[in-house]
Amino acid sequence: MTARRLAYRNSILWTAALVHRLSGLALAVFLPLHFLALGLAIRGEAQLESFLRWSDQPLVKLAESGLVFLLVVHMLGGLRLLLIENLDWRDGQKELAAAAAGISAVVALILLVRMS
């Protein structure tokens, strides 16, 4: 009996939980690198400046937009959980999950456009 036989996973809420977990893991991997980059400023602004200029390339900008998506979707998904766990039950969880993904995508896209 294998996972592909489990049809109930074709569910937006299961996907939302997966997105929440994977975005968290991706952010956890990214964060040390982010801290190291900022830490370049210890040696004075020149090192940080050359890093910022390196990050001006289109692929890096795309990746940064992707990271903002991950951050916002993780936050909004987590907010949805905090609401489930601390307020009275409300239906419409699938719609809320979809809205979280949609808003995150819009924010990331707007950022990408601004950076181009």
Binding site: A41, L52, L71
Partner: protein
């Protein structure tokens, strides 16, 4: 995951809600202006507010991410509870150290 880890993880999550919003706003501001390192550091150096906000963000993120990583490891990896806890604590300590160093780098 037990009630103690749960309370810490949810509390740091709630604390980070406004901090993430702030951070996204900062990102939007910085990218629009096409800021150089000098521009950024001119704003952050010597700022108590900056140090307090981002220092808090780092501490909360380190705790929150460590507990999250612990949960993923116990559910998705063959590591037992003990090894997963050790790895998660080491990861959290790393984030805390690197993060506070980064805050110091831009504030001091």
């Amino acid at each position: 995951m037990n009630v103690r880890l749960y309370v810490w993880q949810r509390a740091t999550a709630a604390l980070m809600l406004p901090l993430v919003l702030l951070h996204v706003a900062v990102i939007f501001y910085a990218t629009r202006r096409g800021m150089t390192a000098a521009d950024i550091l001119a704003r952050t150096r010597g700022s108590i507010v900056w140090a307090a906000l981002y220092g808090t963000f780092v501490v909360a993120a380190a705790i929150h991410a460590a507990i999250g990583v612990h949960n993923v490891l116990t559910e998705w990896s063959p590591l037992g509870e003990r090894r997963a806890s050790m790895f998660a604590m080491a990861f959290g300590a790393t984030l805390l150290l690197l993060g506070l160093r980064a805050v110091a780098a831009v504030v001091l």
